[in-house]
Symmetry: C2
Subunit: 356 residues, 2 copies
Amino acid sequence: MVYNSGEMKNRNVTIEDVARVCGLSRATVSRVINGEANVKPLTVEKVNQAISELGYHPNIHAQALSGGGARTVGIMLPKTWRSYYSSLLSGIEEIAAKEGYYALVMTRDYLNSSERIFEEGRVDGFIFRNMDRVKEHEKLLSKLQKKNIPFVLIGNPLRDYPAITIDNVGGGRTVAQHFAEHGYKKVIFLSGPKDNIDSNDRYFGFRIGFEERGMDPEGILRLQGDYSTKSGFNAVSEVVPLYRPDAIFAANDRMALGAMLCLHKSGLRVPEDIAVAGFDDSYFAKYVTPALTTVRQPFREMGTTAMKELCSMLGSGSPRGGKIILPAEFVVRASCGCPYSHDESLDVLDSDENNE
Amino acid sequence: MVYNSGEMKNRNVTIEDVARVCGLSRATVSRVINGEANVKPLTVEKVNQAISELGYHPNIHAQALSGGGARTVGIMLPKTWRSYYSSLLSGIEEIAAKEGYYALVMTRDYLNSSERIFEEGRVDGFIFRNMDRVKEHEKLLSKLQKKNIPFVLIGNPLRDYPAITIDNVGGGRTVAQHFAEHGYKKVIFLSGPKDNIDSNDRYFGFRIGFEERGMDPEGILRLQGDYSTKSGFNAVSEVVPLYRPDAIFAANDRMALGAMLCLHKSGLRVPEDIAVAGFDDSYFAKYVTPALTTVRQPFREMGTTAMKELCSMLGSGSPRGGKIILPAEFVVRASCGCPYSHDESLDVLDSDENNE
DNA sequence: CTGAAAGCGCTTACAG
DNA sequence: CTGAAAGCGCTTACAG
């Protein structure tokens, strides 16, 4: 028996249609849909049969209106995309699919619209990435928390909001120790935006690592960048004519790239004259010349972890979660001064899509 | 007068609350919300006042249920993200925000769920990018069309579905003519996935350009890739030991990069021994060595254009749109054999976020 | 210019 | 194990 719903015009199949076909009430059909236990097995079968024959799909708005929630989460990302957000999203989506959630993605102006979107019922909770405008985010987040609106941050923990972050301190420290092993003493730290906690933590770890190797962290020259390639280029170009460091550690790969371009333009060789390391392990890191030594962020895992956290908050009705810190892997390539062949990147070509 | 809605627990502000405060009916409040003309100015003012004092936001599900639509569009992207999808999304979102739409982004398994998502009422229409699995897409799209579900494709036009595409033929042609000017005669075309129409069109244009310069397009060696860096590497590594072309044109930048890595590994210099050109102008194109000559896709504009098209379909109720072809700009750098200084990339560092 | 009432498509006590 | 009815928060003829 085929009801040919596909050809029907103007009206969708509703729970009423299913009920009528089965000679049951909407209530019973609803119970079957929601997998409630107290329904006669034969009835369940009949209803499921009718549902699939009619091609019935419950209307999400009706479900949401009668208390089900939107089963949608808002994924709020910075306007200036970084390619690795893709991996983040991919991880988020994997869990979302599993849990029956959908992702509403916003990158524009969400500081002003997050609250509204929630109150309109569009989303049940949020995942935020990006805290560049710290004050504004702080304001938004404290308001959301006050209203018991569930959210999770990825990276950049502010105060004690629930957050998934990586071991920035550990990453920075490893770089410092590696630099020390190379014998680099005079070093530059190229920082991200002011107040950016990720960047500050990387700096902090960098100092610790240096100190642990018996060097004075006060000797580290800290330059201000904003995570863009250009800012890395500019920052380095302002000091390098006068100041000649042994090595530069940039708070992200883009600035590291900018620094390398600048050094190259100044006729300096990387790593022979000045070594460079970045942070992120972006797609291009292994393909630039020399291949960039960096700290890999497990973006995909950050996404899955964040979504799992959010789902558990959503499920429990408890709006507060804790902090989760994921490890960050040090990736040695050529720009730090280690021997490295581009051949090695070929082994990982398959991971093309990993940290794209 | 502040009603302190923020502190209220357990219940949202509804249209009923607004009506009560104003001493009006829900109907009238609804009219004000929807900007209908036939409402007394003083009433409008009173209602708006109450709305802002109560912090009222119409529940989207109630609106959708009573005929308003979800005001959401499904943005269906490939699972293997490319970084330039970011630009696409950014363009889409810009228009969406303007028109009061939201983006539900999916990259997984959407072939099986698009129809359901629409029928659940989650989205009003779709934008698709990615046609790698041509057969499956064809099947999905024809079903959607039959059901009068609005959608727009970005790139890869299939049959006569509404689509935003770029001038692939023109791009390929320009590359061929540029190669000809360099005097390259023996050339390779490194293609994307089989049946990928974008890739095929680039090949077609490449042939035309060659022919127009009085050369035999049959002489072009066509290698099979799949748009991944590795596939570019592998394809080239299989032929280059025996076959030594003057130049390689890859259907995208990643494969061009893979080709360059392979040539480099084989001890061949780019462009001195073999020239290379790509397609896309990805973020890394200007930073690899040598900087990659390529054809730039206006991703952001593709996004805005697609969303505008979709909105106009949604507005008019007409599910069918036409095709729009955007121009593709040829970007000359070093890998084709032209003189080029990395300094030039510095001028465009600001566009960091453009085709990221 | 405004209101009473029906309806959108579900879920969920409540009663049996 | 099942149904009748109320309710979720809107919009929209219809009537005035």
